[in-house]
């Protein structure tokens, strides 16, 4: 524990030299790659669309300024100053706070398990994109080849490919089914790719990050240019970005903006602490924090431009197909010549026919086609990538190439986030000296990847995607918020605001100004606490439920809402609270150890907690 009031030279790290970044660019790219992940692509555009388009940017930027950047700065500064991973940092600040580090470590492990499973799905789609026509463009014929498979016909080709041919999903979470061998193969490959990149810690990830951090931007630009040239892109962009200010009155908007910033920056994983610990001691972490946060938010905006233009194109295509279907029905029913009704004439013709022969028109059950309805169909998460976007890609000329690019981009985005995740697991293990010195780093990273692979095989069962949803909802949200709160409180109140400001002045040459001090002292902890309480309230409001894909369901293809069975709920509670239990456990253990020490050595210089 650092005792001196004066910030002395950096703390020891075990005797041998700590690895360091080859150059500043590697460090920045690693942090950016860790922060910029799949959520920037499929969560932010959805939030933007649901919460009033451009108006959402207001709570988002406010949350960035008062919560995101201050917390991020703390992580980078404390990691750079104490030059340890998360467990080491918190043990150094106070032995009683060591539990925070262990908790971050556990959460990173759990998140790494399911995050890589998403990469498995992305890899599966990537492998299947190298063919024309794409496998999700048609339904397979049924047994006697008179029609298509019933499940496919009732839902859609992309849904069938996703739920049946990829996941082979069961109708209930209790029914685990068998391991999907094709996903298992992809899982092996994914973990081998992760191992290949983290094999020597930042020495290897530092090289890989050049590609994995920059490739997504290249692909986003290509998609943006292509998307803007597609019909309907401008409608999509204007409709989705037009601000609707009245949504700001809904408190849910502010909550979602704050949580989005928090999770988007990947705070409280311990990954940024680990990355910063490899920095030279005198490095301007304040500038780094601001730059990386801004790059992350700008990437989200840039990605939403691309996504909205493609979604606009998809909505326009669906709208035109809806119109064409209706026109064909009218032509077939009234035996008009082919192609005699254009899309523009359709409304007038329809009203005329409705006036003359309403019963025949009513018999056709024509669907009302409104462009806004199609534009309103939003999706987030895997649904956006694997259902909506894959369908949009089908209508673009050269579909296979676009699919390959898109899933390649998703893979590299997720991979660069996995690097940060794995660093937050590996760096504490290295600092703690878990394995004897003679076992090389490659062995340690190999063991970690093997352990993660074995644990994540549960996600390639047929019910795997239900479990992934559970992990996503329960592991990440509450735990990370608590650990972030402990981080702020631990650094500012336990380590000491004055000492921390002195450290930053020593490292960057400038003392943190009023903005930083106020946000660290008051604003960020309060914000975190309120977000945490809101999340708890929202979770407790109604029993958690999930949407199951059940072909036997009456309203198929709508997903059936089911409640979680008891044992699953118990697992949810365990996942949500077990990592947090590290904090009181370690504090208690330290307390007992000190008390025993005090009774053993009689005239004790009582150790200051």
């Amino acid at each position: 524990m650092a005792q001196a009031g004066e910030p002395g030279p950096p703390a020891e790290d075990g005797g041998d030299e700590r690895p360091k970044w080859d150059n500043k660019a590697q460090y920045l790219l690693s942090c950016i790659g860790f922060a910029v992940g799949l959520g920037n692509i499929w969560r932010f555009p959805y939030l933007c669309q649901t919460y009033g388009g451009g108006a959402f940017l207001i709570p988002y930027l406010i949350a960035l300024a008062f919560e995101g950047i201050p917390l991020f700065h703390i992580e980078l500064a404390i990691g750079q100053r104490l030059r340890r991973g998360s467990v080491g940092v918190w043990t150094a600040i106070s032995p009683y706070l060591g539990g925070v580090g262990f908790g971050c470590f556990t959460v990173s492990f759990l998140i790494g398990l399911y995050y890589n499973t998403v990469l498995v799905w992305v890899l599966w789609f990537f492998l299947n994109s190298f063919q024309h026509p794409l496998p999700w463009s048609t339904c397979p014929p049924d047994l006697n080849r008179t029609g298509f498979v019933q499940e496919c016909q009732a839902s859609s080709t992309v849904s069938y490919f996703w739920y049946r041919q990829t996941l082979n999903i069961t109708a209930d979470i209790g029914d685990s089914g068998v391991v999907q061998w094709q996903l298992l193969l992809c899982l092996v490959t994914c973990w081998m790719v992760v191992y290949l990149c983290v094999i020597r810690g930042i020495e290897s990830t530092g090289k890989a990050i050049y590609f994995t951090a920059c490739f997504p931007y290249l692909v986003l630009t290509i998609f943006l240019i292509r998307g803007l040239t597609l019909p309907g892109a401008t409608e999509g962009l204007t409709y989705l970005f037009t601000p609707k200010m009245q949504t700001l009155q809904n408190p849910r908007v502010w909550l979602d903006a704050a949580t989005q910033i928090f999770f988007s920056l990947s705070l409280a994983f311990g990954g940024h602490i680990a990355f910063a610990s490899y920095n030279p001691p005198r490095n301007n972490c304040e500038k780094d924090a601001v730059i990386i946060s801004l790059v992350n938010s700008l990437t989200s905006l840039y990605a939403s431009l691309t996504i909205f233009s493609i979604m606009g194109f998809k909505a326009t295509t669906d709208y035109r197909r809806c119109l064409d279907r209706n026109i064909l029905s009218l032509i077939d029913e009234f035996d008009f010549p082919e192609q005699s009704i254009s899309r523009d004439d359709y409304p007038t013709v329809l009203t005329h026919l409705n006036a003359t022969c309403p019963e025949r028109v009513a018999r056709l059950h024509l669907r009302a086609c409104q462009l806004e309805d199609f534009l309103d169909k939003s999706a987030s998460g895997p649904g956006l990538a694997f259902l909506v976007f894959t369908e949009a890609v089908l209508h673009m000329p050269g579909a296979s190439a676009w699919a390959v690019l898109f899933f390649g981009m998703l893979f590299t985005l997720g991979l660069s986030s996995m690097f940060g995740n794995m660093e937050s697991i590996i760096t504490p293990l290295l600092d703690m000296g878990i394995l004897p010195r003679r076992i090389p780093k490659e062995g340690l990273t190999g063991l970690v990847c093997l352990a993660c692979f074995l644990c994540s095989t549960c996600f390639v069962l047929q019910s795997g995607s239900y479990w992934l949803e559970i992990f996503d909802n329960f592991v990440a949200s509450l735990n990370l918020l608590i650990f972030a709160f402990c981080e702020v409180v631990g650094v500012i109140y336990v380590y000491g605001m004055k000492r921390f400001c002195d450290d930053i002045e020593w490292m960057t040459g400038r003392r943190p100004n009023l903005y930083w001090r106020v946000t660290w002292w008051v604003v960020s902890p309060l914000l975190l606490l309120s977000i945490f309480l809101s999340c708890v309230v929202l979770l407790a409001q109604r029993p958690p439920r999930y949407k199951a894909w059940n072909p036997q369901y009456v309203q198929f293809p709508l997903r059936e809402e089911k409640l979680y069975p008891g044992w699953v709920l118990a697992t949810c509670v365990l996942l949500a609270f077990l990592p947090i239990l590290w904090v009181p456990t370690i504090a208690l253990a330290q307390l007992l150890a000190r008390r025993r020490q005090r009774t053993d050595t009689q005239p004790a210089t009582s150790p200051k907690p």
Binding site: Q131, R145, T146, T189, M192
Partner: protein, 222 residues
């Protein structure tokens, strides 16, 4: 008398071929959708060809080898291009059962489509489901091939990295013992050659002697 017979025959024929009549099928063609600019006009000659194709299909059915073009009746031709047709027996009083016509058309669907440059979607026989083409699966699914390539690359790269790491460590283990030898030599030099201290030995003539650079500074330690 002849006129009366003629009208009677026409009347019977008109009765046999009617929309929703027994054993009648509706056909719908979408020529402009299929062919665009090269679309042909649907006239009586095309109808004749159609009757010929249907008759040809029926001739392939056992016990119906004597079907003639005149046995196929068309009616209610619309501008959509859609019409109804029935196939009568040689007596021209009864229509052939729908099941026989259906199976005949299904078996020769491809020939009929090709005669009109259309396909199953643009030449529709309502109520006659078409047999879908079998899925053209390659013997080895393409994704397995791509997977094999990716997997091999990853395995090779991982092996190379692990082996190079082992080699680096072996060199590092040998390194410190070499440094010790030269340090001994350095001390000997001082005693043998006077006036040359060990320190400038690492900058001999302006070149940095790499032996005195520790492995730690040159290679990031593992």
């Amino acid at each position: 008398m002849l006129w009366l017979l003629f009208f009677l025959v026409n009347a019977i024929q008109a009765e046999l071929c009617q929309p929703d009549a027994e054993n009648a099928f509706k056909v719908r063609l979408s020529i402009r959708t299929a062919l665009g600019d090269k679309a042909y006009v649907w006239d009586t000659n095309e109808e004749y060809l159609f009757k010929a194709m249907v008759a040809f299909s029926m001739r392939k059915v056992p016990k119906r080898e004597k079907t003639e073009i005149s046995h196929v009746l068309l009616c209610n031709v619309t501008q959509r291009v859609s019409f109804w047709f029935v196939v009568t027996d040689p007596s021209k009083n009864h229509t052939l059962p729908a099941v026989e016509v259906q199976s005949a058309i299904r078996m020769n669907r491809n020939r009929i489509n090709n005669a009109f440059f259309l396909d199953d979607h643009t030449l529709e026989f309502l109520k006659i489901p078409s047999t879908l083409a079998p899925p053209t699966d390659p013997p080895v699914p393409i994704w397995i091939i791509v997977f094999g390539v990716v997997f091999c690359i990853v395995i090779v790269a991982t092996t190379l990295l692990v082996l190079s790491g082992i080699r680096q460590r072996r060199r590092k283990n040998k390194g410190p013992s070499e440094v010790d030898d030269t340090e001994d030599k350095c001390e000997n030099t001082i005693t043998i050659e006077n006036g040359i201290p060990c320190d400038p030995l690492d900058t001999k003539g302006g070149h940095i002697n790499d032996v005195f650079l520790t492995e730690d500074e040159r290679l990031t330690p593992l």
